[in-house]
Structure formats: structure tokens, C-alpha cells
Symmetry: D2
């Protein structure tokens, strides 16, 4: 796999090396955690201990100073090869840290002292190696534009009520990123967000995850009951029912990180199929060559589309219009054009990863169908990809089509 995705920055290269070491370690326990449906707390501990969990924390706060979205995507790819459940949770943390560091830059530039202090505080905690962010945003019957969880004004803050689903990695999290619907003083329906510490009253992680795949991801429901969020920890993130460009731009990083994990799944499956074919002396069977070639071609395309999409975000944030850390200088449609890159990569990689695993089983044969086979785990895990938001498959198609035709998807 000499031509796989490669980090381009120096801190990124160190991060990827570290990811490869963690990946090899996680792989040894992946089938067992899958079989038992247990969350690999020890993997999270290992990433905290090695400093990997602080990779995107600036060096001034004790981190490795990785700022490249591209390189974080590459690191997630390496983790995904060994075990997909752990990085699924970790991606949320990683891309939140990245955007927090960008947010800090922005707060410093704009002189927003309160925000600066809050973000520095968080980065310092993460840099100290004992703080994990997770996300509890999915809900039944809602998508990235909406929420059924409500935030109701109360004295000094807001009360959150609602049930979140697919809160991957929540048992290891110190805080959960949460969205809720609220009414502002003008009576408009808006979306608000907070980082909710899990050690306050009113939040319960249900420990109820029972997935067909990603069984070790602890993607539990989380129930908020009159959970209090102080005013200073509550952020407005835009109009209810609309795509918010700034928010979506941040989510796009995570979306590419997730896609990269699934590329890792596909690479792992192909490696199992190729190795087995060689070992069995079946490499000279032309039909095996065809199927292996089809996978190689699609793997190359997945790497290409994902690498370029991630690079386009780095260009945007580091040298382009988004260099301020948010997206102030671009129009909404210009922002959607960039976000389209992430949606495109997500749609492509998630679909193709499934097809690649499928073909790997074709080459490997019936042994890939039995319980305990790693290929069988990958087949179950890989189906999660197209369902993830943003972008569930058909929502991605709609968004890409509209933006390509010059239609604002919020219209």
C-alpha cells in the first residue's frame, strides 16, 4: 500500500505514525470487542496516554499542533484499518479539537475574550490528556438541519430535554456536543448548541447500543431531562430547518474523517483477500485477478477523491477565504461549494467501501461469511457509513445536485 494517503505536514506525519501503532494494537482486540459488543475503553486510554488524543491541540497547550484536516483524515484512515469502532468515536473528538483550535485563533483575532478563555480552557484540558469530546446530535426523525430536542429558557440558562441516538463513544466522553431547537426572543425557531459535561445532573447515557455492526462503538442513546446549560455555554448555530454553512463546514471535516475510517475498512478487507489468495496459491486464477483489480481501482479513486477534498478544506482554512477560522468572507453559496467537496467524497467513499468489502468476500470465499471472520465484521461495520450524517446518501445527492446547478439548498 505504498500509494495510500500520506500526511503532508510534519506534525501530521508524526500523528499518522502514531495512528499506525495504535491501529496495530487495536486490531488485536477488534474481533473480540465486536463479538461481545463491548466498548474498548483501553483504546481510548491508550490514545490519551500516547498523546494521540491531543494531536490537534496547539503545542502551547501540550498538544502536537496538527492543524491539517487532510492529515487528520489520513490518521483516521490508519486507525480504521485496524478497528473501525474506536476511531468512529474518536473522530468526533478530533475534529471538534481542530475546530476549537481554529475558533481560538478567531477569538484572538476578533478580541472575543470570553470565548478565548473558554476555548483555551478546553484545549488545556485536552492537552493535559484526560478530556474527551463526543457528539450526541443524531435523533430519530431529525437531520442536520433540525432537532427534536428542545432548549427552553430558564433563569440564567436553558433546560434541554430530548433523546439523542447514535452517541458514539459516549461512555468515554467528558463532554457531549449537543444541538437543540429553541425560540429566540423574536420568536424565531433556531438551533442552539452546547458542550454538555456528562457529570452534571439531567443527562443519562443509556448503554443500549445494539448495532448490526460497529458493535464496539458504544453508540448509545443519551437522554436529557431538564439538563441545565448556563447562558455563557449556549451558542446559536443558525436557523432551524436550514443548512448552516459555518456549522456544516465544521461537520464536513468530521464527515471526511469518518469516510477515511471506512476507506481503512475497505483497505483492510482488500488486504485480507489478497493475502489469502496468495497463500492459497490462487493468484493465477484470472477471475480473482479481475475482482482484485476492480478493488484496487476503486481504492485508488477513493483515496484520490478523499485526499483532494480534505486538501481543499485545508486550502480554505489556511490560505483561503476561511483563514480566519470561520467562514465570514464567503457567501453562503461559496461556502456550500466547498462543503460540496466533502459531501462528494463522503458519498463516494462510503458507497465504494461497501462494494470493496463485498468483492473482498467474493475473492475470499465462504470463510468470510462465518461469525468470527474479520471480513464478516467488516461487512457489518461498513454498512454504517452511508447512513451517517452529514451526509446520509440521498441527502448528499440532493445537496450536490442542487449546489452544482446553482440552487441554494436552503431555498
Amino acid at each position: 500500500m505504498e500509494f495510500d494517503l500520506q500526511a503532508v505536514t510534519e506534525p501530521g506525519k508524526k500523528m499518522v505514525l502514531m495512528a499506525e501503532e495504535h491501529s496495530a494494537d487495536f486490531a488485536t482486540r477488534a474481533d473480540e470487542h465486536d463479538s461481545q459488543g463491548t466498548f474498548a475503553f483501553e483504546n481510548v486510554e491508550a490514545m490519551k496516554k500516547s498523546g494521540f488524543a491531543a494531536a490537534a491541540v496547539p503545542q502551547e497547550f501540550g498538544g502536537m499542533g496538527v492543524t491539517s484536516i487532510h492529515d487528520c483524515v489520513v490518521a483516521m484512515n490508519r486507525l480504521g484499518r485496524g478497528d473501525a469502532s474506536t476511531p468512529l468515536a474518536f473522530t468526533m473528538h478530533l475534529f471538534r479539537v481542530l475546530s476549537t483550535a481554529r475558533g481560538l485563533n478567531n477569538a484572538r483575532k476578533t478580541g472575543n475574550q470570553a470565548r478565548q478563555t473558554r476555548l483555551e480552557d478546553m484545549l488545556r484540558k485536552i492537552g493535559a490528556g484526560d478530556f474527551i469530546i463526543s457528539v450526541a446530535n443524531s435523533e430519530r426523525g431529525a437531520d442536520i438541519r433540525t432537532s427534536r430536542t428542545t432548549a427552553t429558557k430558564t433563569k440564567g440558562g436553558w433546560l434541554f430535554n430530548g433523546t439523542k441516538t447514535f452517541a458514539t463513544g459516549s461512555p468515554a466522553a467528558n463532554v457531549l456536543a449537543v444541538r437543540a431547537r429553541y425560540q429566540n426572543s423574536a420568536g424565531e425557531e433556531r438551533l442552539g448548541a452546547t458542550m454538555a459535561p456528562v457529570d452534571r445532573p439531567g443527562v443519562e447515557i443509556m448503554n443500549d447500543w445494539q448495532g448490526m455492526g460497529m458493535r464496539a462503538s458504544a453508540s448509545h442513546d443519551v437522554v436529557f431531562t431538564d439538563y441545565f446549560v448556563p447562558d455563557e455555554e449556549f451558542d446559536d448555530i443558525g436557523e432551524f430547518g436550514k443548512y448552516n454553512a459555518a456549522f456544516l463546514s465544521v461537520a464536513s471535516g468530521a464527515s471526511m474523517g469518518l469516510s477515511s475510517i471506512f476507506l481503512g475498512i475497505a483497505e483492510a478487507a482488500q488486504k485480507i483477500a489478497v493475502d489469502a489468495t496468495k497463500e492459497r496459491g490462487r493468484a493465477d486464477y484470472p477471475m480473482n485477478q479481475v475482482t482484485v483489480a476492480e478493488n484496487e481501482i476503486e481504492l485508488a479513486a477513493c483515496r484520490g477523491i478523499l485526499g483532494r477534498a480534505a486538501q481543499s478544506f485545508d486550502d480554505f482554512y489556511q490560505t483561503g477565504a476561511g483563514a480566519g477560522g470561520v467562514v465570514p468572507e464567503v457567501t453562503e453559496m461559496e461556502a456550500f461549494e466547498i462543503i460540496k467537496n466533502a459531501a462528494t467524497a463522503k458519498k463516494y467513499v462510503m458507497d465504494k467501501a461497501g462494494e470493496i468489502v463485498n468483492r473482498a468476500i467474493t475473492v475470499y470465499g465462504g470463510g468470510g461469511f462465518v461469525t468470527g471472520s474479520t471480513l464478516a465484521r467488516l461487512y457489518r461495520d461498513v454498512r454504517a457509513g452511508p447512513l451517517m450524517q452529514p451526509w446520509a446518501t440521498n441527502q448528499a445527492v440532493e445537496f450536490i445536485g442542487k449546489v452544482s446547478l446553482g440552487i441554494n439548498p436552503n431555498d
Copy 2:
């Protein structure tokens, strides 16, 4: 589903109605058996009791007299909609009965009295409703042309030794169809076959099936240790390492029956997706319409290719060159041309069934990914199809390609 596959003969129509009733019943227990990995003995009992298990037994022996391969394929489709594991086992029984009945016709025509008596005896037992045939032919490292199980000559018969895999439904079987490699008196490597009663010494069903899907199919290993087969129960079925046209022709019926079960899986998945979309009021979402339409188109193609392939076998056996019950009047290549129809249908339907289930989950959303969801079961079950022999995916491609280009696949 008004334009789904329909039986064309009168006995076939009755059989299909019965299949629909059994299917509705089996469906109520399918998720539970999948969850527990238990074999649905009660389903087999129900099929014995209703007479369905004797559908292909001539009326003179107490059966329903179904002779149409096409109609048996349709019946399997209906069963597959409710529960795939049970018909997976039953297909082997059904198509063995069909070929036994054809074999009896042939024996009567050719005046082979010994064979006639043996086959009448078997049909009578099955017609009496308490006799099930299963197949134990798959082996690790072997395909339809080979076997690692050996038959060694001994006094008055043969001793079978070897381990069979994927012996679907074996716990409910009275006899197992088994192949073995042997040397004839001229020292040539040949394949032999027998119907091995499971109540004789030397055969052990290992109860070890642990599939990712088809978990209720009891596809256990079966070990034969010096299992004695009397000379009169031992049949030569052709050269070792070669496709045997007559044998393959019989196997093609079962192969289409299996494919039809997977069409049933795909139809069930599409129904779940369509029903849910309607219930949720999401039928007007254009992207859902596209995905649903793609599935409808492929379902129509699956029905078309499968229905025509099955009909071509009926034409062959009932009015064509194979009307004698075996394939004596055609050349090997002519037989392969017909067999190609089954391989074509098998390859197509098995691939597309997987794609259809996949799209159904796309439409249905994340709820299709959790344990206990029927769609999640169908996703796991459907992957078995392309692996089944005959024809594993790539072997089908090779066979179809060669025959289409006028190359004998045995050369």
C-alpha cells in the same frame, strides 16, 4: 407485487399458495431464530404436515405432483420473503425430489428395475410426509468438480471419510446427499455419490454453524468416518475435476431455487422500505423515489431473468431434448448452453438481491442498522447468495464466458 413471479401449472399454483401461507407463518419467528441461531424445526414439521414437503412427489405416491421447476422456483420465492433460512435447507430437498421423480420416469422407460424400485421407495417415503433429504456436498478447498472426501472400496460397498461443510438443514434430514472421490477399477479418479441415511453409524452432524447470516439454517459441518455405503446405493457421477453436465443440470434447478429465495429477500426488503416511507409521509421526497425506482427496476429484471431461466429448464425436461429425465440426447456443450441459463440467473439475482437490500436500508435509514431490525437480518442473510455453489460469483462468470465463446469449460 402483482407482477411478481407466478406459477404456470395447476399443481404449481396450489404449491405457491401453500408457500405463501407457510411464509407468513415462518416470518413471525424469523427474527427470533436469527437472534438465537436456532434451527426452526417447527417450520419443517409444518411443511411435512401440510404436504408441502411432498409437493414434487407424484400423486401416485401421495404427493402433489408438481413437476415444473419454474413453479418450484416460484414457491421458493414466496418462502424466501418470510424467512430465508428455512427454505435454504428445504430447496435441497425439493429439487432432489423433483429429480428423483424425473429419474423414476427415466428408469421406467429404460427398464432399470433396480433403480425404479429404489426411487419408488424413496418417493413413497417422502410422499408419506416424514422424510427429508438434505445435501452435504460443500467442502473447504473443493468445488462442484471435486471432493476431498474419499470413498474407498471395501467388501460389498464403500467407506466414506471426510468433512462436509455448509450442510444446511442437516439436523432435520433423514438422508444426506454426499459426493466423494474414488478410484474405479481402471484406476481413474471419479466422483461418486450416495444418499446417506443419518441413522447409520459413521456420520456425525457437528451442530457448529455460526454464520454472520442465515443463522437459522443449521449449516453445520458433517463428519463421515468409515461410513459404509452398500454397492447398490453408490452412483458414479463422472470424472473427477470436471463439470458433469447431467449432475450440473440437476444442481442448476436447486441453484435457481436458491436464487429465488434471495429474490424473496430482496422483495421483503423493498416492501419494508416502501411501507416505512409511506408511513412516515416521506413518499414525496424525490430522492426516496429514485432509490425505490432503482429497486423496482432491478426487481423486475431479477424476476424476468429467473423466470425465463427456470422456464428454459422446464422446456428442456418436459418437451425438449431432456424429456427422458436425464440429458442423453444432447452434446455436452448443448447441455452447458442450457446450464448457462441457470448460471446467468444465479449470478444476476444473487448480486442484485444484495444491492436491493442495500438500497432498502438507504431509504429506511439508521433503524435498519440495529440488531433486531429485519432489514439488518436481510443484509446479513443476503450476502450468502453469491457464495453458494453452484455458482460462486467468479466461477459463474468464467463458465458463462467460456460457453458463450464456444469453449468447453472442461477443456
Copy 3:
């Protein structure tokens, strides 16, 4: 091609044999007409002379009495193998004759004497072998639900004004089936239709067809300028802007006939590729086997989906709810369900025919790219299929998706 589509009725079998003879003859001139862009008048003459042009005329009027849509579809398949341009024009004639014969049955049943006389007159002319119907319905910026051509009330009739496109085969036609938008006395926008004799004033065939493919199809523009249609020749065919079930049902027959021509194109391409591969001694190249197999599988699926769709229309018209010749006893949605079958087959076959020709060139090599190569003609011709109405590709997807989800596409 032993398992290709086969006629099921006796008159149909004769028709198909005749089609095979015409096809072999037309094939000898196809490349030349393509090169010159000339219409094969001699082919139309040959079909008149042989009686083929009167195949669907009842025997009482001198025809062959073919009533099966399925068998007409099979006949078009055979023509398509030899030359696609001629049957493209002829399909319109054939399916108009079929529906005229059904219309006559209906008129007799309902005692509509005027209509009976008009239809008998037309069938008698066609049966006499010197009368061809063509269709001039396509227009820029309109689809099957609309028309920019207008019919304006005048004394004793209507004046038609507008420009039709893709009036395939128009130079050989005696009458053109034409649609126009009109206002009824209640001021409602409706669609009207007539069979317009080309020898009356006010109609001009522009002889301007310049297609990339189907170059011998004479798919000219036709301009109507104050063309007078007497009241008794003017039929209302439904609400403007809506799918009309009865009209669409008739068009579906033609749509399947067209699809069948393109199946013929695909079969011809595959035959060229297979024959060349054999001749060059390249049949043993595994990659050729794979590509040939992929084509065989898709050809089988095309035949299956098309054969079943056509049969479903025969069932409907001959023994089902539509046996009266029109669709009176079914609801609009029930009619759409049946029409969906034709849309499904059309979408599938037209797409796959293109892919099959494409793969045939892959197998054949660079010689298939040069001017004068039959494969190059087929590559150009085959692209017309998905554009034809009903159903252009995306309109088919929309219709199928909506009907499958229980949505009336007219809502």
C-alpha cells in the same frame, strides 16, 4: 441465441419468422443507408409486399391477425438486429395498428358505429398493403403530457399549427398521428389528437433529419400550418399537462416495441464481438471471457424484463381488466401500475443496450471505432434509446418511483 425472446401465439410465430427474413435483408443495406443518411424506402416496400406491414390487421381485413403485444415486441427485436432505423419507424405503425384493432373491438362492443366505420376503413387500407401510419408527436420543450402545437376551433373542424420533431419514418407515411393543445368549450386546456393524412394541404415534412445515429430513420421535423382537421377526425385524449392512462397504455406498447429494437442492437453487437473473438483465436483470453459474460448476463436480464412486461400487457388486454380494448374498469392508479411495467422495461433495456454495445467494442477493439464499422453504427444508434418518449430516462425513474410509493404522478 437459442434462448432469445420467442413468440407465443401462432400468428406471432409467423410474424417473427417473417421479421427474421426482413432483418437479414435489411442488414445488407444498413451500413450504406447509415453512411448516406438515406431512408430505406425499399425496406418499407418490402414489408408492405410481404404482408408484414399488415401483421396486426385482423384476418377479416386481409392481415395476419396478430393480437399479441408480446409477439410484436419479439418481431421488432428481430428487425432491430439487422437494422435499427427501419423498425424505429415501423414500430409506430405496428402498435397503432394493434391499438386500432383493439379499438375496433371496443367500438363494436359499445355500438359506436361512427368509430367502428372509421377504424374498419383504416384497417382495410392497411390490410390491403399500401398504408403506413407514422407518429409526429415529439416537440422541443414538450413531453408526453404537453404539446406546443395548437388546435384552434374553426368551422367544422380544427386548425393545427406547430412544429413536430423526430417524426421518424414520416416520408413513407400516409397518415401521421399528431397531438395538439386545445381549449374545450368549458375553457379547459386539453390535448386533442388526429390521424393526419399527409396528402392534404398545410403539412410539410422538412427532410432535415441529421442524427448522430439512427441516420436512416428519416426522423424529420414536420410543420403544420393551418392544417384542417374535420371534427369527426378529432379525438380528445385528456387533460393538458397530465398523464392520460388510456393514451399512455397504448404508448407503452410502442415503447416496449422500441426497447426491443434496442435489445436487437445489443444482440447484434454481442454477436459481432463474440464471432470476431472466436475468429481471431482470442476466446481463451480470460478478460474477453469476463466481458462477454457480463454482456450475456445483461442480455438475459433484458430479455427477461422485456418479455414479462410485454406479457403483462397481453394479460391485461386479453384476459384482464383491459379486455374491452381500453382501460375502463381500472382506476387510474391501477392503470399506472401496469404502465409502470413498460416504463421499467424501457428504462432498463435502453440503458443496458448502451452498456452492452460499449462492452462489445471493448472486446472487439479499435476496429469498432472506425467509420464504416457496424459496431460504430450501433454505438451511435443505441444512444437514441434512452431519449425516446415515453419514457425518457429520468421521467421513467420519476414515474416508477412515484407509482411504487403509491403517489399518483399526476398529483
Copy 4:
């Protein structure tokens, strides 16, 4: 098209800008040359005059000093958007110049004075702006490993005899790169090569190109009759019938350049479809959005796979094992691993470009089918891609499959 392929070196960026200007100019004449089947001599003259034809000539010889294969690939992409026939010819020239410049570096390093002088001479001529290289290597019944043209030893040189096909751009060439089969003194079958000036006796350009597409590419036959090549202009390029890694590595650059032209075709088609959809006010039709989105996703994947493959060659030649200008330090299999990248990109882009043009016509409608429509030209042109060597489609699959499974494709 903000996220299209971008040059990464400074000279490359200038070259791409120049390509965009030429492209806009060429586009104005493309349909006319296609219609007439004429070669655009004026386009070649323009590229000579602007200095574009000398882009890859080192600055010391009057060129622009572009050394990046990646950037040349990007430049070809831009040309391809305006007119595919001209760059098809020019790619051969461009990548020969690139490899000549690398060869010169190598000759200087190794002190091969004769070779140094010869290559300097050629680069000086090209730098002076009046010297074009073309390639005449294709032959009926031969592939990249073989040749039917023979080189027979004669006094002081070799006599070439044979017929080359698809000698794109030959009428504008000063020299033709030609391969021939010969026997060395040990009696071994080898492949030899030369750069054959067209102004010597014994070479005839037949002016006989009649393509379905790429009609303005002048891809004529070229006949060599006792054409004399002096010993000092004759190079051995390896064993007859085998892939030669060094030669194939050079050809891979051209192969990616060609692929990039076809990406340009696809981008042009998508632009036509998108622009028309907007102009007609049909951007809000969901089915159009789906088809446009599918194209955007595949365009993104094409750019990704092609950009990365080209970059991998730059890495290899500029900083990697091939930095000497040839491939001496790597094993044959290591070289094949790199070449696999080009084969992968070629296979993917050529296939997908065809699909993208096809979908663009679906969105555009019937107007894309008529003669004179640019889309119709693109549909005909784009089919050439998968046929080009290296790598014709199936040969690419075989090569990729074997190398991926660790099999030397020469075994």
C-alpha cells in the same frame, strides 16, 4: 470548476494558463473540423508560435522548463475541454519531450556523450519552435509488447517494413516514434525503436483516417517500406512479447496525459448539460439534480485518481528511485507497482468519462443526439479513450490484477 486539477510548479502554472487560452481558441473550430474530418494544422501552428509546443523543453534550449508530469497532465486536461483531437496528437509530442529532457539529464550523469548530443540536438530544435514529434506505434494484431513491423539488419543500419495505424497527428509531425521487431546477433527476438524523420524516403502517411470520433485527429495509417534507420538512431527497447518497465514507464506519462484529455471531454459535457439546465429553468427538477450530482461525484473521483497517479510519477522521477531519469534502481516489480498507478487512472478515467458524457446527454435531452451538437461529438470522441494503448481496458484490468496479487505480468 474551482476544484479542478491545478498545476503545482511555477512553469506548470504558466503552461496551464497558456493551455486554457489555446483551448478557448481551439473550441471555436472543433465542431467544424469534426464535421469535415480535417486536421487542425492551425492549432499546431498556434502552439508552436506561442511556445506551448516547447513547454517541456529545458529553458537552456529555449523552452519553458516544465518538468512535472502532473502539470503536463493538467495542461492536457484544459486542452481537452475545448477540442480533444488536437491534444490527442499533441500529448505524444509533449510526453516525448519530457522523457527526452529526462534522458538528457541521465546521459549527462552517465557521460554518454553520443546520446547527450543527439538529445540536445532534438531539444534545441523543439525549443526553436518548429519541430513536432508524433508516434506511430499501434498496429493491427499487436499490442504494447509486440510489433509486426520488422527491422532487418543492413549495412550501417536497419530497414523498417510494416504498417502502423492510429498515427495520430502524423501530418504535422517532423519525426515519428516507431517500434519494430528485430533479431539481435544472438538470434533473440527483440523490440527496437527509432525516431523516424518523415522527410526521408520509404515512409508514407496514408491520409486515410475515418474515425467515428476524434475525426480531426488525423490518426492515419503510416506505411514503412525499406525505410533506412542508421545504427546510431536505433535503440533496443527490450524483449519481444514482454512488458518493458522502462519503456512502459515513459508510456505511462502519455497514458495519463491522454486520460486527462478525456477528463476534459467529460468536464465539457457536464458544463453543457448544467448550463442548459439552468438556462431552461429546469434546475429545480429533482431527477436532473440526481444525474448532475452523479456526474459531479464521478468527476471528482476522476480528478482525484488522475492527480494522485500523476503526482506519484513526479515523486518517482524527481525525488524517488527514478530520479536518474530511467528506472535503474528499482526491480521490475517495483517499477510495475508504479506503472500500475497510471494503468489504474487510465482505466478509471476513460470508463467514467464515457459514463459522464452519457449522463450529460440524458440531462440535455434529444438535442444532444443530432449532428452538429457538441455533445454528440463528445459522445463519439469519448469512446476512443478505453481503446487506447497503453492500456486498453481489459489489458489494464489484467495488469492491475496481476501486479496487485504479486504476479509479474511477464510471467
